[in-house]
Symmetry: C2
Subunit: 766 residues, 2 copies
Amino acid sequence: MATLSDISVSASINSLSAFLFLVAFAILRLQPMNDRVYFPKWYIKGIRENPSTSGPLVKHFVNLDVRMYIRLLNWVPAALKMPEPELIQHAGLDSAVYIRIYLLGLKIFVPIALLAFAVLLPVNYTGGNFNIMSLTMKDITFGEIDKFSISNVPPASKRLAAHIVMAYVFTFWTCYILYKEYKIVTDMRLHFLASQSRRPDQFTVLVRNVPSDPDESVSEHVEHFFRVNHPHQYLTHKMVYNANKLAKMVDQKKDLHNRLIYYTNKYERKPKKRPTTKTGFWGLWGKKIDAINYYTEEIEKLSKEEVAERERVIGDPEAVVPAAFVSFRSRWGAAVCAQTQQTRNPIRWLTAWAPEPRDVYWNNLAIPFVELNVRKLVMTVALFGLIFCFMIPIAIVQTLANIESIEKVLPFLKPLIDKGSVKSFIQGFLPGIVLKIFLLVLPMILMEMSKIEGYVAVSDLEARSAGKYHLFLLVNVFLGSIVAGTALQQLKEFLNKSASEIPRTVGVSVPMKATFFITYIMVDGWAGVAAEILRLVPLVIYHLKNIFLVKTEKDRDEAMDPGSLLWPITEPRLQLYFLLGLVYSTVTPILLPFIIIFFAFAYLIFRHQIINVYNQKYESAASFWPDVNRRILIGLMISQFTLLGLLSTKQAANSTPVLIVLPILTFWFHKFCKNRFESAFRKFPLQDAMIKDTLERATEPQLDLKAYLKDAYTHPVFKGGQVELMDIDEEEDEYHLVATKRTSRKGSQAGTTEGSPEDRTGIYAV
Amino acid sequence: MATLSDISVSASINSLSAFLFLVAFAILRLQPMNDRVYFPKWYIKGIRENPSTSGPLVKHFVNLDVRMYIRLLNWVPAALKMPEPELIQHAGLDSAVYIRIYLLGLKIFVPIALLAFAVLLPVNYTGGNFNIMSLTMKDITFGEIDKFSISNVPPASKRLAAHIVMAYVFTFWTCYILYKEYKIVTDMRLHFLASQSRRPDQFTVLVRNVPSDPDESVSEHVEHFFRVNHPHQYLTHKMVYNANKLAKMVDQKKDLHNRLIYYTNKYERKPKKRPTTKTGFWGLWGKKIDAINYYTEEIEKLSKEEVAERERVIGDPEAVVPAAFVSFRSRWGAAVCAQTQQTRNPIRWLTAWAPEPRDVYWNNLAIPFVELNVRKLVMTVALFGLIFCFMIPIAIVQTLANIESIEKVLPFLKPLIDKGSVKSFIQGFLPGIVLKIFLLVLPMILMEMSKIEGYVAVSDLEARSAGKYHLFLLVNVFLGSIVAGTALQQLKEFLNKSASEIPRTVGVSVPMKATFFITYIMVDGWAGVAAEILRLVPLVIYHLKNIFLVKTEKDRDEAMDPGSLLWPITEPRLQLYFLLGLVYSTVTPILLPFIIIFFAFAYLIFRHQIINVYNQKYESAASFWPDVNRRILIGLMISQFTLLGLLSTKQAANSTPVLIVLPILTFWFHKFCKNRFESAFRKFPLQDAMIKDTLERATEPQLDLKAYLKDAYTHPVFKGGQVELMDIDEEEDEYHLVATKRTSRKGSQAGTTEGSPEDRTGIYAV
């Protein structure tokens, strides 16, 4: 058991590292050369240009104005200054609601902490269990932390009633705050949707599993079907093409282009020597050749192939996928079509709201229904395996990645490895590194699994990955830390234990792990969040790109990587703090201040990042909130079961019926929230659609909606230019190829986040 | 352990009693005076009239034609003769699909039984476990039945592989048949819906939780809302009135009327003495008065009160409930409105398909949203209590209902009770009778619970009751028989056991209970079903009514009680047979023939009853099928877990991973069925609506839909006549009272089951 001084040492180390990160950030962000790393959002919005070029050259790269260094923390008020409505306009509703989760943490835990400190700390501290125990068993020492925890209350004591009452109070408080927050977020979402300007997805429905018809092409079939069944509403539609191969070619070409630029830059700097490369894998071996000529030829070759593929996709009826984006004359028509069933066979003509164009995951649009079901089954089994057996492949890799096998595979490394210090280093760190790498790669694995499951919107994919990751963290971090052993062993143990014994096992270990989790909060929460603001990886990558690849301003724009809120990773991790706070609120309330500091600090950091850095790839209008709410309630229920188990080992078995009421009420509250709010996040009400339609008809009677929607749902590889996809002409009803070069319409689609006037928003990016 | 001869004795007793029921039925149904008991369906359809009155008077009551008695079973071919399409037209789709469940039982279990007899019986019989055991332990005797069961296979034998393979085969066969059947029923339903003639519910949506508006009446508010948000589709609407008090008065009046008729009849038969009654409760005590005068006066008094209440309901805005039946110009419009969300607030303006007019449960239309949630929570807890603690109140009643307390409450019975034989009779039978009464009353209790939960359609209420009853039977009959002790004790035991031990506990007991369940099948299944056809209770009641209440032909029509398929009772009981069949198919296959006989026999009986007797109160177009499918799959999963537990005690623990795959696959199959078929039972596709609309517009361009829908959704108490509800007139937009007397439109609503020509259908009712 850790003493208070252990904790304070750990606290000071972590606070110091967090502080150092902040100092580094404060210095680095003032350098003009890092401007695009720390303020990319403003560049994307076109409000910030490159730093002014008057003055000496050095000023381009380093800030020499000493006065600015004095106010190290002057970004803090700037981050807090922007009011919420403006934040929504600036960064989108997703981001604005996301940081509300941290605020929610404060709203829940500050009052709980105050109450717990006022009531439970004195009750625990004067419990005197350890005094008794240390008298009887002299060889056991207890940490001071434990004096403040429920462990200090002797078994069957009347004092435990205080914990039960507090469990009720905390549950009701949490539910009350959650209800209020759900209501606020729902209103924000509805207000946001209502005030949104015209967007293609408001008029569009995604139709999947279009049945094939022997007499018509798929496109004709779609048109006829909707003309008949939505007679006054159908406007136009866009077929989906299987352009996955083409997309791969475009990517490949871009990569070759980057290499060409790299070698051209190299040649320009040292014109004496023409750069060479090798033809083999990654330019590592093979014949030596002139790099610039080689890549120019390769690009030309690929360009030709690409044109051929492009024409094949457009001409070949096989490339048409049985899915289409169908657009309607009004939002009302689209809302009706998205929410209703079209035909008798519920697996044909599946309609759903079209995702925002940026949000479409094109690769999955062609998966047939039965296959989808099989994929989901396989992925469920795989997820189960991943969660409960994740240590097995790691162990295998760790066994393989030992000294002997490395020497076998790469014999030329043998003399190096055999040196004593290197050997011990590898033996000591390699297994840990393998685990670390796996944990870093895990979200990507989960994302791939969600992709295999076949969701068609990036937002759906992320929501599913987040769900999987949350489950993983719950089992392997929370349960895994409390009950020692791998998840598979735990599962075995749990299966061999009675249902009522499981919360007991967990409950008994919980108070003993308090110090471990306090350290975890400081390392992962405090220092981890501070590292986020420093953006070390994007900083390095940007400067590397800047040196090797950037020639024009456009290149520099592309080298800039604003990143985005990694929702499917950060949210599940964040949920762990809610879980810990709720579990320990009655058991070891001294943990609560650490959590409160985390929430406050993270709120500040992420608010800054949202304003100045992140550029979200799509806007889902906070559609993730039901998940957030559900996961906090899962945490609440786990905390209730834990307390129940803990108290039943404290010889307070009579408390069980009193405490079992709490999870039942919590579950009911979850159901209630679901009924009350969730449809606002899943459906689009007809009344709102009608209001927007009516308003639009009054203000813009001349609007040519068809022209507006023309290219919205074109596969991105067709957007770049050259050839445009065939299009149905309503008057003539025949296909014709428009092969003229067009400028990209990319810009017009974003549409949601309009730049506000420079003079107003400039103040937030100091 | 029972021997084969025990079983055959039981079988012959039960077969004999079933046979006797059939003989009694065969004789009774031939008597003309019972004609209305055994063939009410034909009277209701107006095809059958009273038996011809030519010949002597005795022929009215007794059939003297000896030739007809010879062919005792001539109703059997008649019951099987009617082809299914005609059956659907005659009795409705619900009934026709219901008897398909019995056929489904045959389809599943006949091949399973053949395979099990061919493979498992020899494997078990030559297993020789009992030979070994009886050599070592001479004092244990085994029943012959057990030689055919898995118990005869020694532990860790290779023979168990046969059972595992068979479990796979049976699972796949069951799922295959279920899939095929689901597909057929779905097609039948869609075909039925498509071929249905015009019905008011096709055009109508039930709107609940209409928000109040300070400026408008509820009715105006409803009209304006739908005129705005469904502009081309809204036709008219009908407000719902809280006429529960009025309905009670109407019932009361009918009751008084019956008494009046009873005394008038009495007086007519014995004109010398005017009948008297007493004013007190049930005419048991109080002042003696002239009965005919008394009831005439009472009826007059009540009639006046009824008129006053009728006027109050119509005039009082407080009597208007915030719910309405909104009708649309087309089926398409109604389908759109029913499937979409209307406003931002998902608990306002809730729309759903209107139930068929006969199907509406009027009392529940006014319950607000939050209250509904609370009611559901309370009822869930109550159901849990009822299932797991149902023995507690029974035990209390049994304790109270002993000799001493009866003597205390009813002291005048004391001399009677104290007689030895009476005393022992009461002591021996009373507790059993209390339990029996409870089990008889249970479906009614469950129905009341469902009513409290607030469902607005009788079909929903029945579906929920069936679900509750199924759970009850599963826990208290199946588990309760296998693991001795009450459900509460089981729950306690299970909670204290490990998760993997529960299937083991159940699995071990399963083979030992085979003989018990064989007897159960014969008593409850064979004899019970035979008793169904005899209709003893309706027979007695009809003749009593006929003697005391019938004066005119109309009275005789009313005295006739055709009854209906008691779906919420019979279906869950039926599911028990599927469960038993699936559980014992691998364990003790010798049980299967008993189940097959049950299914075949019940199919025959219920087909006869549906053709000749039952008159369904509403038509849900087989909307119960998803429940049937789900429950059979639950049974399948229970059977898989049971086998898993059983084999793990047979020292074949390696089988666990092989067998755990089955429930996972079964669960996946359930999900697959749900996705694939369920929406056909819950939603109405737009394409079908459009086809019907287009056809109707072409064939009946002059149809006055508004007039057609006018009275469809009027509360039944307003249907009888006298005063008609206020109605919105589209042209004038003002309320006016149409107080003219009208004939009831009840007849025109049924609409679904049109009588076929007498000469054709006559042949089925021999």
